[in-house]
């Protein structure tokens, strides 16, 4: 195992009765990275995190932290600490005692423990709150105490279970950046669980998107956003525009796809496994789509004729909902950079051309073909 691996999860599964919460997941988390587990509720992300923390034992598989196999160790013997979703601050202890709680087991003298706890509180800018009880703090302050308490333990890996879920939108945005900065300056490994794709994108170096107990895609965060590998990931990342086509040819790393477009689409192939006549699914992000009055512009754009179904004015954007002649629905984001009146060149119920640059075509992984959805 390489020096730079912080957490290694190998074929880990967790069953609760008949329910498979985590289904043979394998992944590695690098030292010092901000790693996010992203997915809808019930996808197994929290269970996976809790297995790293030692709160659940895997039904199968192994977990290593650093060089050590921790699969069957109880939480108090693992070099990781957790920021709980509910913060789990001890209501009967003052802030300082909460933060110093675990230091007792580190064989620190009580003076050293207090010093360490104060340092940790300073790190989250909570000096002066030492004697308060958790009930006397605001939500944001509680969240910071929970963070300070975990950081005081100097864990090898910090686990965060949707720690921003209880904060309001504005505070959340602030804390996201603060957390990211803190992680970078401490050089600590963070494993962060969230169901909010924007939050994951803002903070993470890498993201594992989970669905039904499996990891659907693990990539650098911008990669997950730009190049979703599966329809689930595309959908979850806010790109629900699916097209069906047929592989025409594969040459020099370029895939030619025939679809209901007016011309063939040529995209960079990310795999060599494509064969002519393979059915293929691809997506185009809503912001990469354009609505035109005419087809076939000169710079190699692809276009399809569609019927306009709806228009939603959102201030910064206008969202167009259109339907192709095959009955597929697409969403188009148009930035409102032109005077408002101009966009009225399209009307709901009218016809228009939806076009995009072929390089923005993202082809779904081939193995998905067998189980195409909708």
């Amino acid at each position: 195992m390489s020096e730079s691996i912080s957490v290694e999860i190998r074929e880990v599964s967790k069953r609760f009765g008949d329910f498979v919460a985590v289904d043979s997941v394998s992944l590695e988390i690098k030292k010092g990275e901000f790693f996010s587990l992203l997915g809808p509720s019930g996808c197994g992300k929290t269970t996976l995190l809790r297995m790293i923390g030692g709160f659940e034992l895997p039904t199968a598989g192994a977990i290593r932290i650093g060089e050590k196999d921790v699969t069957h160790l109880p939480p108090y013997k693992r070099p990781v600490n957790m920021v709980f979703q509910s913060y789990a601050l001890f209501p009967h202890l003052a802030v300082l005692d909460n933060v110093a709680f675990g230091l007792r087991y580190k064989k620190l003298s009580s003076a050293d423990a207090v010093k360490k706890a104060r340092e940790s509180l300073a790190l989250v800018r909570l000096e002066g709150f030492e004697d308060r009880l958790p009930a006397q703090l605001s939500g944001g302050q509680r969240q910071r105490v929970a963070l300070a308490r975990a950081l005081a333990m100097e864990p090898e890996v910090l686990l965060l279970d949707e720690p921003l879920g209880a904060l309001d939108q504005k505070l959340r945005k602030e804390v996201q950046l603060e957390l990211k900065n803190l992680q970078r300056s401490l050089g600590l490994t963070f494993v962060f669980v969230t169901h909010d794709q924007e939050e994951a994108l803002t903070m993470s170096d890498r993201i594992a998107v989970m669905n039904q107990g499996r990891v659907e895609q693990l990539d650098a965060s911008h990669h997950v956003f730009e190049y979703p590998k599966t329809e689930f990931v595309a959908q979850f990342m806010g790109a629900p525009n699916f097209f069906t086509g047929v592989v025409k040819s594969l040459a020099e790393g370029l895939l030619s796809i025939g679809a209901r477009t007016e011309s063939e689409i040529r995209v960079r192939a990310r795999s060599n496994s494509w064969r002519p006549d393979d059915a293929v699914r691809f997506v185009v992000r809503p912001e990469k789509l354009d609505l035109r009055t005419k087809s076939g512009t000169s710079d190699g754009e692809v276009s399809i004729e569609v019927t306009i179904e709806d228009r939603v004015y959102q201030g910064v954007n206008t969202v167009w909902v259109v339907r192709s002649d095959e009955g597929e629905r697409y969403t188009i984001y148009e930035q409102n950079d032109r005077p408002f009146q101009e966009s009225s060149r399209f009307r709901v119920g009218g016809r228009a051309f939806m076009s995009w640059n072929p390089r923005d075509t993202v082809v779904m992984e081939k193995k998905e073909n067998g189980q195409l959805v909708g």
Partner: protein, 299 residues
Amino acid sequence: MSEVSNKSSPAPRLLVSPAWFFLGIFFVLPLVIMLVISFGMRGTYGGLKPIVDWWGYLSSGDFLANYRQSLDALYLPIYWRSIWMAVATTVLCLLISYPIAYYIAIVAPTRWKNLLLALVVVPFWTSFLIRTYAWMLILRTEGLANTLLMQAGLIQQPLDLLYNEFAVMIGLVYGELPFMILPLYASLEKLDLTLLEASGDLGANHASTFWRVTVPLTMPGIVAGIVLVFIPSIGQFVVSDLLGGAKSMLVGNLIQNQFSIARNKPFGSAIAFELTAVVLVLLLAYAWWSKKKGQEAML
């Protein structure tokens, strides 16, 4: 979900074993013994008569003798009185309690609520015996009520306020009232007031809002209160013993008599089980009702 809640863990069984041990010996066993005795026959000196011919005893139906005897016309007035007094107590408590529970939960200023509620809770926990005794002070011939009435010139002769069904009734209502107010308060407190506004908005006046919205929504509290008042009332014997006369005997007094005076334990046991059966049936009916309504039982 977590490892500690593993079904095979021995911890919970260890934790409940002292309770099982103690209650098994000193609670379950006594009830079983009493059930057995209720099928027995009274011996000469208040003990049990040994049974020689088991087959004959069982086949002749003699073992049901105590239960048969309990249905004797002699005792029917006692049951009847127990039931109607318990019903009357329950109805009176409900009528008295609903407005005050409504007042505390909805009308009273927020800052007074806790105090008003605490004032209901205190008698709930203070000695039932002493609270019953306090009524003796008021109702007896030389008591406060007669003294005041005579001083006011309203009566010439003291009234017989004590040792009758009227006094028992007062004692029962007085004793059980908090048991009705508290569950009513609990469900009125949970009532979403915007529902009342919605009802008014849809054209219902106060009365019909009350009957069509408030009452149905507080039904769990009403039913819980009825159960909580009716059950202790029907098994009551202190109130009737202190405030009632010979003519206001209740089932509780009948049972107590069989053990302390008549020395007929088998018969007393049989009546005790009949009383227990009535109570259990009521509680099961209540549990069934709560389940049907999809509500968490309040008891």
